[in-house]
Amino acid sequence: MTFPKGKLIAIMGLSGCGKTTLLRHIGGALKPTKGYVKMDGQIMHELDQDGLYAMRRKMGMLFQFGALFTDMSVYDNVAFQMREHTDLPEDLIHNLVMMKLHAVGLRGAQQMMPSELSGGMARRVALARTMALDPMLVMYDEPFAGLDPISMTVIGDLIRSMNDVLGATSIIVTHDIQESLKIVDYVYFMANGVIVAEGTPDELRASETDFVRQFIHGEMDGPVPFHYPGVDYRQALNLRA
């Protein structure tokens, strides 16, 4: 799998197929038993803690439900990394936070606490926090999960525009086909921990591969069976053959 600079790439697949695990490998949170993740010329699992943290300063990650710090306001959440990693004066941090919040349309919510935000707003604040230090690689773990259609479009547009403005590389892990195909440049399909299909959104829409067709059209049965493997149905009902 390769993620070229400036591209927005989706990793799709069924729940439990290893998408989030892959993100954790890219972020250096897990060590692979086989293979490696190379970013900016460095192999992630060979880095010591200082090297890993230095690499992570170039990354941003949007967690599935935002993972905002619940004891901090929206403002402090976005300012968090700036205060931790830079010596910028507080008035400059203020301006940067305002710019980030303005970009996600939540400048007016700066004093709110995470518990006061809706799911869509929390995701947008988390997006502003992810972009706080203008990362070169941004990872999104299920950014559309649990959002209403309007919030979904807003988040999708923000992800695309932020990627283009920053010139960053973005990786979206999702199983939301329709929303992600609208914004991404390339897609990898995963099943059981391996890549089963890949291509641009248009190529995948036209794909004749059974798995891709089933996934894109949301068909109930196909290469991915509806029934989880188990004993014979008649046997489960204690019926004689």
């Binding site: 972020g27 949170a29 890993l52 943290y53 230095a54 992570r56 300063r57 990354m59 941003g60 990650m61 967690f63 599935q64 439900f65 993972a67 905002l68 710090f69 619940t70 968090f80 990394q81 931790e84 990693h85």
Partner: protein
């Protein structure tokens, strides 16, 4: 076969226990190692001092007052039999400063502040806040654990001292104000009998040790909690149970070392 599986289960539990003690010890050393950041940004410790120390004040003051009053009442009834009512002040003060102050304050601290620390960190883990911090290249041990650890270590001796002081006042209220023990002998005998190094400092050392142990247990349980509702609730319970047992066991060990033959 049943015997083999029983032995296997016991062995498994022992190995698990030893493993957890090892992981907890490593966690403790990492906390010490990354404490430097906390001291260079002392406002983080002050914030935690408020939630662990200041927020525990009410329970400490109220419990201290009642424990002191009970000591005054029971002590008077016992001392009266030997005609030594005037020694009530000494009995209340030594009982509180040497034993009840550090132990009771630590037990209350474990149930009030320890459980809260475990639940907070456990929930931070369950809601991926700790993972988010790690992905931002911020060490959660340095940013979350170390300030709470030092807040616990600093606040515990202060809370124990407050418990003892309020307890002595409770003993005074019952012994002197209500029952009528001579006020002069209550205070003067206390002043003469309570030794700063032998009694007060040993009490401070005890509360310092209890504070360290309770805070490490609370933080470790929170950090190690499975990221589920059941996991966090189990970790919170374990914090209170393990801390309470550790306090009582350590109290015996410390008392045996400090006061044997004194």
């Amino acid at each position: 076969m049943a015997v083999v599986s029983t032995i296997r289960a016991i062995g498994h539990r022992i190995v698990n226990m030893v493993w957890r003690i090892g992981v907890a010890a490593r966690f403790f050393f990492l906390t010490l190692r990354y404490s430097g950041t906390s001291f260079s940004r002392f406002h983080l410790i002050i914030k935690e001092l408020f939630s662990t120390g200041v927020m525990s004040l009410i329970i400490i003051v109220v419990a201290g007052l009642f424990v002191g009053m009970v000591l005054g009442l029971q002590g008077y009834e016992t001392l009266k039999r030997y005609g030594s009512e005037s020694a009530l002040g000494v009995m209340v003060a030594l009982g509180l400063v040497r034993e009840l102050g550090p132990v009771m304050a630590a037990l209350l601290f474990a149930s009030r502040a320890g459980s809260s620390m475990t639940a907070e960190i456990g929930l931070m883990k369950a809601t991926e806040q700790i993972s988010a911090m790690e992905m931002m290249a911020v060490n959660p041990i340095a940013r979350i654990v170390a300030p709470r650890f030092w807040a616990g270590v600093i606040s515990m001796p202060l809370l124990a001292a407050l418990f003892s002081a309020v307890g002595i006042f409770g003993g005074y209220l019952v012994g002197v104000v209500q029952i009528g023990v001579d006020e002069g002998s209550f205070w003067s005998q206390m002043q003469a009998a309570v030794d700063f190094r032998e009694d007060i400092m040993n009490g401070v050392i005890k509360s310092f040790v209890f504070g360290t142990v309770v805070t490490v247990i609370a933080l470790f349980e929170g950090f190690d909690a499975p990221p589920t509702a059941e996991g966090v609730s189990g970790a919170t319970t374990r914090t209170v149970v393990t801390s309470s047992l550790a306090i009582l066991m350590l109290d015996f060990v410390l008392t045996a070392i400090m006061f044997r033959g004194a």
